[in-house]
């Protein structure tokens, strides 16, 4: 249905691993790469992460940054055939569980836990509970908006346990007497931050993929090289200072080199990860009421492997464009 077009819009929201997108827009790098392919790409910052995905799903954007789990449960489950264009990083300690009372995951039992329900935090909690053979029934989950989670944990004695991500995680960990009992470094590679674009749009307009991947890895190179100006700009935009931002990057496993990203995306681990994610999503009703099994939504991986309903593939992991970057063909 979508035909060739020239003007594209992608959305991003503030998160350590996604800050380069803001820099791409402000520094003019995006324009440079878009011009190179004769298109225009508008990068729009949306503060509310969920709203940005919703808007993408509803068709207001051609692409959007999101985690692997949200890519499955929101656009893909919503029938929007989406392609993961860039695997930018995975959370390597960026998400964590913090307790005021207790020192281990097992102490979670019976506690009220503040977290954003049905988000990757929830997934992390489920994985953490698995490690000590607890069930979700053993705890009680209180849905708490990510913007309020710090103030809830800091100011209220009622809140004794939270699951959250950075920068909130750093703030809650710093609370006196609080212990981080689990974080995503214990499940490396399971919470992945992606740039997702509409599959049909990408198929008709490979230039969009090339421009986005091109600009991304130019910035990755700068970042890896420790470009002060860029890092400082990103720190500022995320509302903190250079030190604070660098601290967040420590727990984010960035794929600075396209080759690393390709390796990760084509690895055999990714389908296994996605299988865990879709099981979790299905159990929590995130694949939609129409989904009778976790196979309802198909997921395709590089090399033609799929899991789930092969006739209803809605989420595709792609490595082609990153490979082009790795091969220096952009």
């Amino acid at each position: 249905l979508s035909a060739e077009k020239k003007d594209f819009k992608v959305a991003w929201s503030i998160y350590a691993g996604w800050m380069p997108w803001g820099y791409a827009a402000d520094s003019g790098l995006m324009k440079k790469w878009a011009d190179k392919y004769g298109i225009s790409v508008e990068i729009v910052q949306i503060n509310d992460y969920v709203e940005s995905i919703n808007q993408y799903t509803a068709g207001a954007f051609d692409g959007c940054v999101m985690t692997n789990m949200d890519a499955l449960t929101i656009p893909a489950a919503g029938g929007v055939d989406s392609t993961s264009l860039i695997s930018g990083d995975f959370s390597n300690g960026n998400d964590g569980i913090v307790l005021k009372k207790g020192k281990t995951v097992a102490d979670l039992k019976g506690q009220k836990i503040n977290l954003v329900e049905l988000s990757v935090s929830h997934y992390l909690l489920a994985r953490a509970l698995d490690t000590v053979k607890l069930k979700e029934k053993d705890v009680s989950v209180v849905n708490t908006s990510d913007a309020d989670i710090v103030s809830v944990f800091t100011s209220s004695a009622d809140s004794t346990a939270v699951v959250t991500w950075n920068p909130q995680l750093a703030e809650v960990s710093a609370v006196k007497g609080a212990t981080k009992v689990f974080d995503s470094s214990k499940i490396p590679g399971e919470i992945i931050d992606l740039m997702v674009v509409n599959s049909a749009t990408l198929k008709d307009n490979p230039k969009l993929g090339k421009a986005l991947v091109g600009v991304w890895y130019e910035m990755m190179a700068k970042m890896e090289a420790g470009d002060q100006g860029m890092l400082e700009a990103m720190a500022k935009a995320s509302g903190t200072d250079l030190a604070g931002y660098k601290a967040q990057l420590v727990t984010t496993k960035m794929f600075y080199k396209p080759a690393d990203a390709v390796t990760f995306t084509t690895s055999a681990q990714l389908p296994k990860t996605m299988d865990m994610v879709r099981s979790f999503s299905f159990e929590h009703g995130l694949l939609g009421e129409g989904a009778k099994t976790k196979d309802a939504v198909g997921i395709a991986f590089p090399g033609g492997k799929t899991i789930g309903d092969a006739k209803n593939v809605k989420l595709r992991f792609d490595a082609e464009f990153m490979k082009l970057a790795a091969d220096g063909k952009l």
Binding site: G78, E117, A157
Partner: protein
């Protein structure tokens, strides 16, 4: 006969017809756009078809939830209404007491009216952390958020209404030997009561808004909780019926307040011709 438009009145049927028209228009708009979007993507979540919505409503309203064993819609409604009712009640009492106080007693006015004016202008969402310290995280803080959201409006509105009572009537009460308290019970209260009902009706929208916001902050049930929860995966088939349901509940309250006004204040209708 070329009457002025202000003198032409629709009949009962006409009023019904004209009243229904904009709702029908919205419905038609919805159906059209929903059909358009669904034609493009049968799984579209933004504007689900009515059949999808009906299925979801059936599940929400009649099938017990597998996880909690409760029927979600009713459980959510019960907790939300409790919070809302409490919030409205407290706000009404505050609005009445402080509104009459500031409107009637110059010293109270001097002391409180600037403070309440400022209070009413502070965006409550921005100072949530401070509210959490003071009121904790459970039911209380949700009720408090509603109160903070609408009580200053009610107080200021009531105060304006009290000040608008013709001074002759207050003077006359004094010549009839009324003390301040009697002036409040026999003159001020009945005079501002109907306005209070009207102001309450106008606050219903904000009250729900604050309730929903409060339930978005930290909650385990409630209509606002559910909406925010399913917003995570754009389940408009849940959100839309919930919004309609909230609106319906609010509309019933609005109607009940209007009805109470008519019943409790017969003088408003009599003689108005």
């Amino acid at each position: 006969m070329g009457r002025r438009i202000i003198n032409r009145r629709p009949g009962k049927g006409g009023a019904l017809f004209w009243g229904a028209l904009p709702f029908l228009a919205v419905l038609v708009l919805y159906v059209t756009f929903s059909a358009l979007r669904l034609a493009e993507n049968p799984n579209d979540k933004l504007l689900p078809a009515f059949s999808t919505i009906a299925d979801t409503v059936h599940r929400l309203a009649f099938v017990p939830d597998s996880r909690s064993g409760q029927v979600l819609l009713w459980a959510d409604t019960a907790s939300s209404l409790t919070r809302l009712g409490l919030g409205l009640l407290v706000s009404t009492v505050i609005g009445l007491v402080l509104g009459i106080g500031t409107g009637l007693i110059p010293y109270v006015r001097a002391g409180l009216s600037p403070f309440i004016a400022v209070l009413s202008l502070i965006p409550p969402m921005a100072v949530l952390p401070i509210l959490f310290i003071v009121f904790g995280l459970d039911e209380l803080s949700k009720v408090v958020l509603i109160v903070i959201g609408i009580a200053p409006f009610l107080v200021r509105d009531m105060a304006m209404r009290v000040e608008a009572i013709p001074s002759e009537l207050v003077i006359k009460a004094q010549t009839l030997g009324a003390n301040t308290w009697q002036i409040v019970t026999r003159l001020v209260l009945p005079s501002v009561w109907p306005k209070l009902m009207d102001s309450l009706r106008l606050s219903l929208g904000p009250a729900w808004l604050f309730l929903i916001s409060a339930e978005a902050i930290a909650a385990q049930d409630g209509l606002g909780y559910r909406i925010f929860l399913v917003r995570r995966y754009l389940a408009m088939d849940v959100i839309l019926p919930y919004v309609v349901w909230i609106t319906l509940l609010a509309f019933c309250m609005d109607w009940a307040l209007r009805y109470a006004n008519r019943r409790l204040c017969p003088w408003l209708e009599r003689g108005a011709s």
